[in-house]
Assembly symmetry: C2
Homo-oligomer: 228 residues x 2
């Protein structure tokens, strides 16, 4: 019997992981801290990014990839900060895939970047399942969503490097128990840093920015070690 | 050559539609209006359901199926209204599948029901893609999520029978432009009814309840015609 080539089909997740690996290798090579921001639609991811980029202005070189099902509205908001931004449209899909992210990163001036912020599609479930080659995931949770989200959607909170609780200016107006929220988060991920901010009012940003700067610094040092 | 049986694999969506069809046929047979509530995590679906069930109390027989990735927290809130409720856990999946819904409906006292409310997993993207045999989808959008959600996540708003804009008590505290929200919704679905409510404060509920009662009545009449 003739020996024929065996065709190998990898499952989509394997394919996704392969592209994520390429992005991770590229980020390591150039010392880029890549953050994957994940949260519900309307949880304030873009507002948090805008406030963060304005606070970081002058301290390094940043870029943003904005994931959405449709429209370029979020990328337009980021563009006003002067930071390079691309819009990734999933055309119906519920999460960003690593291949799309990788191509978008390749089109950025990545050799010069210190950090890359990727805002995933607004969704607490699916994006947490797909590695896009990030250094870490940031879970974004607004106080209007209720304190039990970490219990009901545990994967993201388990995987995240930090949680940013947004829209704290609304705390006097919503039934949100911050201690309970911290307890729910700690149950699925003990000792994860939790920051409470109002990006709109600019309050509570300093501890979050200090953590982020520390993480960027660590990324740079690790990159230096790898490159040495 | 021996003739062997040809195995047929249907795709999952076809399988899903088959189960949805069973549920729809059962609901038609017994005159049950089945509503599929879809919205972001923390958009106030459960709170809206609790307020709606309390307002409808005594006017008919209702039941609820609560979809979540994990926990029975929402079902416990519904149970306090005295309405029969089951919790559907997807164990990580981002939407309810029709098969699970059908089995849960079969275990309810469905012969006696006037309406069934199914609260889907908190997610603006995936649940809109999966028919569960409902009479219609209700899109739930809170004012804290921003007015552009219909543009960014159009499928749900295109498919829905009505939109309920929730948490209107927070309008004085959030940058939410109601006229813009209505415009974005009308762009993807002209003339869809849009109700603005605060389930927490009990305001704005009457137009929504009137629409729902009208829809329940229409369902009953259609069922009578079918059964005649």
């Amino acid at each position: 019997m003739e020996r024929t080539e065996i065709r190998i089909y990898r499952n989509l997740m394997g394919e996704n992981d392969r592209w994520a690996g390429k992005t991770r290798a590229l980020c390591t090579e150039y010392g880029i801290a890549a953050w994957n921001l994940i949260g519900s639609p309307g949880s304030g991811k873009t507002e948090l990014l805008v406030a963060t980029l304005r606070a970081l202005e002058g301290s390094g070189r940043y870029a943003v990839l904005e994931g959405d099902v449709e429209t370029t509205r979020d990328a337009e908001r980021i563009r006003e900060t002067g930071v390079p931004v691309s819009q990734l449209l999933t055309d119906g899909a519920c999460h960003l895939e690593a291949k799309l992210v990788h191509h978008a990163v390749r089109d950025l001036p990545y050799r010069e970047l210190d950090a890359l912020f990727v805002e995933n599609v607004g969704n607490l479930v699916c994006p947490a399942e797909f590695d896009i080659g990030e250094r870490g995931k940031i879970a974004v949770l607004s106080v209007t969503e209720g304190e039990d989200k970490a219990a009901k959607y545990p994967l993201l909170f388990r995987e995240a490097s930090a949680v940013v609780v947004t829209k704290s200016d609304l705390l006097p107006h919503v039934p949100f128990d911050m201690e309970a929220a911290r307890r729910f988060i700690a149950e699925v991920h003990p000792r994860i840093p939790v920051f409470t901010v109002s990006a709109l009012k600019g309050t509570g940003m300093d501890p979050w920015l200090a953590w982020l700067r520390g993480a960027l610094r660590a990324e740079y040092d690790a990159g230096e070690a790898d490159r040495a």
